[in-house]
């Protein structure tokens, strides 16, 4: 992907505004928590109509030819809305295919409305023989992009291929669907350059999760402050208690640091400029940990009602706990990039 000149570049802030309005109307974030359908199918249909799936598809394949920077605000707003869709799976696959020059597959994807779960497999597994305990968004996937953890292989396979099994898994985060995946046997589908797929899918996934976490954390913090403004104790709003104010301020700093790094890393990734992979991983660490801390403290700051199903802070907390460990815990990510960071430091 190359830098776009300003003529073809869609202003990310315009995208954000559209996304925010759209998601505010369409996402009923408590639906699944109340035993109703989360509305993922309808949402994704409308997202397709809005052209979101075309955003980073090259113009030659009928897309809009935008960079990752056009997606960042969408991921952030989806996080803010606690949207039920795993948009990043399809997007990361598009990114991999576009980077690898798989024009035909991209055209199919666009033309036939494929929805893809992109999965970096646990170490030691191959796209032909894999067992993954929890995969996000796999319930609605038409295809799976399976990537070996060492970058030795990657394959795009139909979700309904023989030997592929996807079994729904109930998690504590009811707002999104998850499944367990098992693949057995040689699949006849598209082989993709494994090391390219690994690098692009990982960075894309890291950044998507970072922005999802930033959006959600920011919404969670803001709703918690609203609650504290209204809640009176000992004759004053609890938002005026300094100990709570200082905790909120520290959360805000952590959130803004995560946002600044995610912005920088997104721009580096969009341009594939130096250090993009490490920056994406680091953004994700800062973002998911800020989100977890905010989600955790939001429940505490709500006091008794924070402990109820009825209030919304637990939705954020549970989402935060999932975001933190999906496709790798922060410590696993740290271990993945530690040597690179240390080497960079030593020059």
């Amino acid at each position: 992907m190359t830098v776009l000149d300003s003529e073809t570049r869609i202003d990310p802030e315009e995208i954000r505004e559209t996304a925010q309005r759209f998601l505010a109307n369409k996402v009923e974030r408590r639906a699944a928590w109340e035993g109703k359908d989360a509305g993922c199918a309808a949402l994704e249909a409308e997202m397709a109509e809005l052209g979101w799936y075309l955003l980073i598809v090259p113009e030659a394949q009928g897309g809009l030819g935008q960079s990752f920077e056009a997606l960042a605000p969408i991921y952030e707003e989806m996080g803010r809305a606690l949207a039920p869709s795993w948009l990043a799976g399809t997007m990361a696959a598009i990114d991999v295919l576009a980077t690898g020059g798989h024009a035909e597959a991209l055209s199919d994807l666009v033309g036939q409305g494929w929805r893809i779960a992109t999965i970096v497999l646990p170490a030691g597994q191959t796209p032909d023989h894999a067992q993954v305990r929890i995969v996000g968004g796999a319930d609605r996937a038409t295809h799976l992009l399976l990537i070996a953890a060492d970058g030795s292989a990657a394959r795009l396979i139909p979700a309904d291929a023989v030997g592929v099994s996807l079994v729904p898994v109930e998690t504590w985060d009811r707002g999104r669907a998850y499944a367990a995946l098992s693949v057995e046997g040689e699949q006849g589908s598209l082989a993709v350059d494994g090391s390219l797929a690994l690098a692009v899918a990982q960075a894309h996934g890291d950044l998507a999760l970072a922005w999802d976490s930033i959006g959600a954390a920011s919404q969670c913090l803001s709703e918690t402050i609203d609650y504290m403004l209204g809640r009176q104790q000992f004759g004053r709003p609890i938002a005026s208690f300094q100990a709570l104010k200082h905790r909120a301020a520290d959360h805000k700093v952590a959130l803004e640091l995560a946002r600044a790094l995610a912005r920088h890393a997104s721009s580096a990734f969009a341009r594939r400029s130096e250090g993009w992979a490490v920056l994406a991983a680091q953004s994700r660490i800062l973002a998911v940990e800020a989100f977890r801390a905010i989600g955790e403290d939001a429940v505490q700051m709500h006091g008794g009602v924070g402990f109820t199903w009825e209030y919304n802070c637990h939705l954020f907390l549970k989402r935060a706990l999932v975001n933190e460990v999906m496709d790798g815990t922060p410590d696993q990510i740290r271990d993945r990039i530690a040597a690179q960071v240390a080497a960079q430091a030593m020059g």
């Binding site: 305990r133 000992f234 429940v299 505490q300 008794g304 402990f307």
Partner: protein, 392 residues
């Protein structure tokens, strides 16, 4: 026999009794059990404890099992916890808060009516907290007006533990709003089947319903159900609140200590712990030992009348934070697998089998019974001598 020998003898006797009476497979039966199953199991275990004389060590001598010293009471809680017996969730308020309030402040008639009933399974709940009051308990607004030989009560209570199953309620109401807020509070006993009482379970973030809201609409309560004097209920409530004398923390801490193995198991065993996780386990283990030691000192000071102001708050805060950090580490060590919403065991302390459940449930200890924030205020003001904040 010296006190210590007596406690030793009691422990030995209780262990033998447990070996005969505690169903070895109760966890298997309760794993993923539904509510009726849980209630039945609680009732069966309670009946057995009463029969064995281990449910009422703190009651007066004339009751079976009664008249035990505090060290003996602690010994019983510790042994039950160490044996991994089910927690007495359903009957705790009955045995402690209700019974001890009646023993210390009730009338002869109230005691005669309720104490035997409790032993037969009468379930009590507490109606103290209100939605608007939060940490500021004394600002309660549920109103009672006396009409002849009855009080007419309207208002709303919240956070009544298992209130949806209760037969009776320890109720705090306001009978006078003219003076300072602690004055004008009255303590009543309320039959939960009274007209005008509506109970709604509160669904918690774990998905369970361990608490309830109680809505009161012109509920009539006979004047003979008054405990202590009208407008002097705040003092009675203090007796209720101190009735368990720290035994809950003794039990919870023992149960936490006994679950330490689960931390290591969460990572898939000792060999699979990385350096940092192994270090984290060392710290959690150290904090558990420290908490046990602190608790032992507190209980011993309490017995000799030397408890210092704020000690209970330090302990409560230390336990609350440990319960959160302990379960958070378990969650972290188990990684992705901990996200699955699997079955768990109710009433099992920290051995439910699901780290996320335990983690979410730990908020209870950090919020209820005086939140961490309230404990920090108390420690800062009463222990460290820092000034109260200026109130407008």
């Amino acid at each position: 026999m010296s006190d210590q020998d007596q406690t030793h003898a009691l422990r030995a006797e209780l262990r033998q009794w447990l070996a005969r009476n505690l169903p070895a497979d109760w966890r298997d039966h309760q794993h993923g059990d539904n509510l009726p199953g849980f209630l039945a199991a609680q009732k069966a275990w309670f009946a057995r404890l009463v029969e064995g004389g281990y449910a009422t060590p703190h009651w007066p001598k004339d009751y079976a099992g009664g008249g035990r010293s505090l060290p003996e009471q602690i010994a019983i809680f510790e042994e039950l916890a160490r044996a991994g017996a089910p927690r007495m969730s359903l009957f705790f308020v009955s045995l402690y808060h209700a019974a001890m309030t009646l023993v210390e402040c009730g009338t002869e008639a109230q005691r005669a009516r309720h104490l035997p009933a409790i032993l037969k399974g009468e379930i009590w709940c507490q109606g103290f907290s209100e939605p608007g009051a939060g940490s500021d308990l004394a600002s309660l607004r549920t109103r009672a007006v006396r009409k002849g030989d009855r009080y007419i009560v309207s208002g709303q209570k919240i956070w009544s533990t298992l209130g949806q199953f209760a037969d009776q309620c320890l109720l705090l109401v306001r009978t006078d709003s003219s003076g300072p807020k602690q004055g004008g509070i009255t303590f009543l006993l309320m039959d939960m089947k009274s007209k005008g009482v509506e109970v709604r379970p509160i669904k918690q973030i774990t998905g369970d319903e361990e608490f309830a809201e109680i809505f009161l609409d012109e509920v009539e309560i006979p004047v003979e159900n008054l405990v202590g004097q009208e407008n002097k209920g705040w003092k009675v409530a203090q007796v209720t609140l101190s009735s368990e004398r720290g035994l809950t923390l003794v039990e919870l801490t023992e149960r936490l200590a006994l679950s330490l193995w689960r931390l290591v198991a969460a990572a898939g065993g000792q060999e699979r712990l990385d350096t940092q996780s192994a270090r984290a386990v060392v710290d959690i283990a150290a904090r558990i030992e420290a908490l046990r030691a602190m608790l032992a000192t507190l209980m011993s000071n309490r017995m000799s009348g030397q408890e210092r102001v704020g000690d209970a708050s330090i302990l409560k805060l230390a336990y609350a934070r440990l319960s959160r950090d302990f379960t958070a580490l378990g969650l972290r060590l188990e990684g992705l697998a901990a996200l699955r919403d699997t079955d768990y065991i109710l009433g099992a302390g920290y051995e439910t089998g699901n780290w996320m459940f335990d983690f979410l449930n730990s908020y209870q200890y950090n919020i209820a019974g005086g939140s961490n924030e309230i404990q920090r205020n108390i420690i800062a003001e009463r222990v460290l001598g820092m000034p109260r904040e200026a109130l407008v």
